[in-house]
Amino acid sequence: MNPFSVEGKIILVTGASSGIGKQIAETLSNQGASVILVGRNKEKLNETLNSTANKDRHVVETFDLSNIDEIPAWMKRIVEKTGKPINGVVHAAGYHSTIPLRVLSYKSMNEIMTINLYAGLAMLRGCANKKIFAPKSSFVFISSVMGLVGQPGVVSYVASKGAIVSAVKAAALEFANLGTRVNCICPGMVETDMAEDLFSNLSSEQKSSIEKQHPLGMGTPADVAYAASYLISDASRWVTGTSLVVDGGYTSH
């Protein structure tokens, strides 16, 4: 059997209504996985569902990931509905905000940490259960090159993404005896609505400067989805606690 295949695996993908999460759901479905599409907007999730292969293999789940303590019970309910444990999670849901330090409030720090980090950690807690998360499974966080390097104006975003890079190391050690792997992907600048939003607040010089810092140009959601597919597949059986940088060379400077 092809070690890169995700055929028959059941994968929960958060942030599936847009951007990178949406593409990951589509790519995994094209590769034969069954996907649990998670987001807050049912209409957008259904749009994602309509662009997947084998629609009847997938499930749409609306849930607000800011309800941190309810996450493990919610995951249990999903597995009770589907009747089978999950084989993988890709936590692609996340916020970006540009808030310079001089006006950074607890409220905005907490919002970003809650979705970017705490929700992922709560899902890891949900996965500490063999009935919910089958042994030899794979958990993937979507971090960012902003978890490895910084930019002015985005300290809380950088902090949340950097925390992921560290968290996966400890989580990997906790799950190693189950053969389960925990990793993150650090994408560079990818063409999504979130990037559009970011760019709308920058001058054209700033925009062009960011683009020039990517030797291979800006990325596409598919570039990240292929990396997620690799980490979800058995081909990455021996990869854990690490960050897969997918950034067109951005962090090479």
Binding site: I99, R102, V103, S108, G153, S200, N201, L202, S203
Partner: protein
């Protein structure tokens, strides 16, 4: 948000003492009025009065009264 709160927010953002900024204050005479300060002000305006201005609108402002003009309908 009251006008005085907007004044104080901007004074904090450009790191000047309270009482420095008035309607006629020229923005390019404020040493810390750079793109980061502009983004900080955009963020405060969005959070405090729900107004989403563009960076170009702020870049075009020459005096503090130009900024007030952009948000006057939302000030108390």
């Amino acid at each position: 948000m009251k006008l005085q709160e907007l004044v104080e927010s901007l004074e904090e953002i450009v790191m000047v003492d309270n009482g420095t900024i008035s309607m006629g204050t020229k923005l390019d005479e404020l040493e810390e009025w750079d793109s980061l300060a502009q983004i900080a002000l955009l963020s405060v305006l969005e959070e405090k009065i729900g107004v989403k201005l563009t960076i170009t609108a702020l870049m075009d402002a020459k005096t503090f009264s130009d900024i007030v003009e952009l948000v006057k309908d939302h000030l108390q």
